[in-house]
């Protein structure tokens, strides 16, 4: 029998999640309720969080914190988060965007999870609360590396620094169906320039591995370079480092590997897709 428990505080939800192996956090419902409808989830407890902190956005300053329950629709309604509108709009249609949460997106299996790709390129940290203690910040990359092996606890919020120049942040989702389609792949890049050269490059991919991943090879190649044709060509050469794309209904592994360098080159050159 499937039960539902509404939690008025994050601490209550974190405690229940830690103490009950059959407890499942219900975010916006776009992932968990599918399993309920298809009979894959019939036992245990669905945890709803009604704590307003879960859906709070603090985006007024240089450090941004987004509650894990914030929806893509809330991101799109925030002018302060305009640089994140492209990845938020890449998630589903309008109804899905009013439901899908930022925290839920962290756990979406490939080829879903495009918003997480953007957060990865922003060097985001997730605040994880295990048990009734206080939350601790963990690099998003660390959470993604272990998310399929162990329950991390309750992700209560996502934190990252606002890009000094929003124009340095780039995102594109490649899909066959427009405007809404599953990802063939997605790319996010934060490429701040210092004296005309890339400094602290962050590049991330979606649907090129079981979870969103950082493109370390590309980052190394771009670091300290001007974004000219030679640097872009070198980045394309390094584009596939660490990639383990799947073959699914959207594309084959071969195809994803073939087109990733092309789309990466276009993104870095500022060309239309």
């Amino acid at each position: 029998m499937l039960a539902v428990r509404s939690c008025a505080t994050l601490a209550e939800a974190a405690g229940l999640l830690s103490g009950d192996r059959q407890a499942v956090l219900l975010g916006g419902g776009t992932l968990v309720m599918r399993d309920v409808n298809e009979g894959r989830l019939t036992e245990g407890t669905l945890l709803r969080v009604t704590d307003p902190a879960f859906r709070r956005i603090e985006a007024g300053g240089a450090r941004i914190e987004i509650g894990a329950g914030v929806t893509m629709g809330q991101i799109l309604a925030s002018r302060e988060l305009a640089f994140l509108h492209a990845p938020a709009r890449a998630i589903g249609g309008p109804a899905v965007r009013n439901m899908a949460s930022v925290g839920g997106n962290l756990f979406a299996p490939a080829p879903y999870g495009d918003f997480t790709v953007a957060l990865l390129a922003l060097d985001a940290q997730v605040v994880v609360q295990a048990g009734f203690g206080s939350g601790r910040a963990t690099p998003l990359e660390e959470l993604l590396a272990s998310r399929d092996r162990a329950s991390p606890g309750l992700v209560t919020a996502i934190q990252f620094s606002r890009p000094a120049n929003p124009g340095d942040f780039h995102f594109r989702k490649i899909s066959r169906v427009k405007p809404k389609g599953l990802s063939l792949l997605s790319i996010a890049a934060h490429l701040p320039l210092a004296g005309g050269r890339v400094s602290q490059a962050r590049v991330a991919y979606g649907a090129m591995a079981p979870t969103p991943i950082r493109a370390r090879g590309v980052e190394r190649t771009l670091e300290g370079k001007a974004l000219d044709a030679a640097a872009i060509a070198a980045a394309q050469q390094a584009a596939l480092e660490g990639c383990r794309p799947a073959t699914d209904a959207i594309a084959s592994e071969w195809y994803r590997r073939e087109v990733l360098p092309v789309h990466l080159g276009r993104l870095l050159a500022g060309q239309p897709r």
Partner: protein, 160 residues
Amino acid sequence: MAKIPVQFRLNGTDRAAFVDAPETLLNTLRRSLGDFAPKYGCGQGACGVCTVLIDGEPHLSCLTLSIACEGRKVETASGMADGPELHPLQAQFMEHFAAQCGFCTPGMLTAARALLDNNPNPTRDEVIEAISGNICRCTGYEPIVAAILAAAGSPGLRRA
């Protein structure tokens, strides 16, 4: 398992039902409240035929818990007409032959209404974006887009 009481405002009328804890809003609407406009399609959030408005925003009722709607405002395609007078979207769907089998139509109407309530004069691209979560297997979408554009700016559009 004991049933849980839930109350919300459905198409302008206060309604109540006793639901199972994990029951979806779609099931409550269809089985308990007799509103058959939202349909069960994929159950995955991919087809949009169960789209309803919750507090004015489109949501997928097949992925929404009924108990999460306590005290909220739910609107379906059933509540769009004003007595015998069709909502302009409904009238234009008929005018443009935008429904064939009709299965997607309530969800399309609801998604389109959410758009026109907030943006009475959308562009064609904005219309396409608004219905991008709704699948139609009969019409090829063009009559639907034409109907929504024709209804846009109509003096009969109203916000509930």
